[in-house]
Symmetry: C2
Subunit: 355 residues, 2 copies
């Protein structure tokens, strides 16, 4: 069933819209005091992510404050390797860690697509969020990309230089390819389960693909993004399900990303939006791409950046679509009032541009 406000879905499918839809990566997050309160009640990040009721609560929080055109499932990109048995935990102030990272040939051989039932808590959250949204705006589901998951699975956590996963890439590419094949199958199954549970669009976050050298990106990230996109359902219950692919730092590879078969390409803030439209805007919608740090610039700067970003994309035209977003997740230090200024400016200015 189409949501009452289907502007996001129309823009992703490059259909005409009355204004430019907007949502923000990590819009349900630590910058909101109500999120921090729910997080405190949950006790831990994983307890929050694993409770469908609490995940629903935080998913809806930003929609109460702001005129956002989409909800995005509150979850973590590492739920899939957690379901593979790697033991995800979040140490306070440290970021994600795996208790059993993939380091040896034996670890790789043991790795398998997890029983998707282990992720029922995610599907339950998707269903509960859909009911709570009651058709207000569409719900976006998501997953980390096969390569991004592999980074965490091999490194065991975040990394500055990706030394372990890149050592495997250059020394034992066969092992990394096996991890990526398992990840791609799991990610596709996971996204399809989210779609069946009610996700109305899906996004693949390739957060670390941009850390790869050009040739390595093609072979170890892009190839598996293509595999995921080819396996994701394009339609569910008669509605088209748009797929968004976002490689942070992937501005040099936009044509190749567009060629994965996705409906929309996510852009970080280093990309010139007008140039991106010229490069791929006739094949895919574009999503992005304001620097999250703009939200620290004050109202005038935020409005100016919104105007310049919309002007850079240019006037709406048949076959082009733009979803306004940040170029990366919103900072936990963002003043919540700044988000109102941004969201309202996107709607106001983009309506004016259509007059």
């Amino acid at each position: 069933m189409r949501p009452l406000n289907d502007t996001l879905l129309r823009a992703l499918l490059r259909q005409p819209t009355d204004y430019t839809p907007v949502w923000l990566m990590r819009q349900a997050g630590r910058y909101l005091p109500e999120y921090r309160a729910t997080r405190a009640r949950a006790g831990s990040f994983m307890a929050l992510a694993k409770s469908p009721a609490l995940a629903t609560e935080v998913t809806l929080q930003p929609l109460e404050r702001y005129a956002l055109d989409a909800a995005i499932l509150f979850s973590d990109i590492l739920t899939v390797p957690d379901a593979m048995g790697l033991g995800l935990r979040f140490a306070e102030g440290e970021g994600p860690k795996f208790e059993r990272p993939i380091r040896s040939e034996e670890d790789v051989a043991r790795l398998a697509v997890p029983d998707i039932g282990a992720l029922d808590y995610v599907m339950d959250a998707v269903g509960e969020i859909r009911r709570a949204l009651a058709g207000r705006v569409p719900l976006i589901g998501f997953s980390g990309s096969p390569f991004t998951l592999a980074c965490y699975m091999v490194e065991g956590g975040g990394s500055d230089d990706f030394r372990l996963v890149k050592t495997m890439l250059y020394r034992r590419p066969d092992l990394l390819h096996r991890i990526l094949a398992v990840n791609a199958a799991a990610v596709a199954e996971y996204l399809n389960a989210q779609i069946e549970a009610g996700a109305q669009a899906v996004m693949v976050f390739d957060t670390w693909g941009g850390a790869l050298a050009d040739r390595a990106y093609q072979a170890f990230s892009l190839a598996y993004l293509r595999d995921v996109v080819s396996k994701v359902k394009r339609e569910h219950e008669g509605e088209r399900i748009p797929t968004i692919v976002f490689t942070k730092g992937g501005g040099l590879w936009l044509e190749q990303i567009a060629d994965t078969g996705c409906d929309a390409v996510g852009l970080d803030w280093t990309v010139n939006l007008g140039a991106a439209r010229a490069r791929v805007g006739a094949r895919c919608a574009l999503q992005g791409n304001v620097d999250p740090m703009v939200l620290f610039g004050g109202d005038a700067a935020i409005r100016r950046e919104v105007e310049q970003t919309l002007a850079s994309f240019g006037p709406p035209s048949a076959g082009a679509g733009h979803v306004f977003n940040l170029g990366h997740g919103i900072s936990q230090h963002t003043p919540p009032e700044a988000v109102s200024v941004l969201v309202d400016a996107v709607h106001e200015v983009s309506r004016q541009m259509r007059r």
Copy 2:
């Protein structure tokens, strides 16, 4: 006076060479046990950088081990703001910190181009290294870019999100422009002093320009790179002094970087070297661009990456120049033997390509 091995200078000036010259960013560094020994004797990183004799010793160390085609001055990119009075220090395992970062309008107003005499220790090192090299290979001088220096000066150290400097950029662009104007004047004067002291090529490291949004990069990094390049001496004692500009993460802006008037553009590993040659290779030489993590892949992988990188640049031709390098500084964890494999493979394969 031209060095005996002038292959680097010829490649930077897009003149024919017998083979592709190679040097490595941070080639005099912690991956070498002899560097660690000298560093231990010096007591601290700054004591090492400030002693012309010790800086000379570590600058020459990699040339004793490897058939490198250039020496690069051992120093730090933050010597200039240190000379401005910001108080540079290196806490063990923490990276650089400034004791007096630039945070207020008053701090900005007080900032001035430092007396270049405060950097005599750098010029003394340049002179001493030139004498020690005795014409073996050319010596490259360098500086951080105006924007990269500003990042450290405002943040007070490294940063994940550049929140302070970007808040200033969006909220008080006038203040950041003033810092950048001072930095550009200081950087140009600093590079010219290095040239007068004996540097035979100079490189500007724009390590953090790639963290900027497209429009912000043009206004806050590129404009000041252009200013620096326009002020740097093109000739000294009858010899042409090539200028290299490197914005890490700047692959989308190669045409604009080439238009600064520099002789060579540095490339990180995300860039397809052949595509870069097609985009700017007739205007500028190119320097780069293997992922430093390739050096962890073992001999066969290193040789394969060298072959593929040289093949990607393509056959030598009139008016094109390639200097082989990594796409970023060498990792401190690199096995020293791996560097021999890389350097020798560059020479061997590039000679074969010319036959």
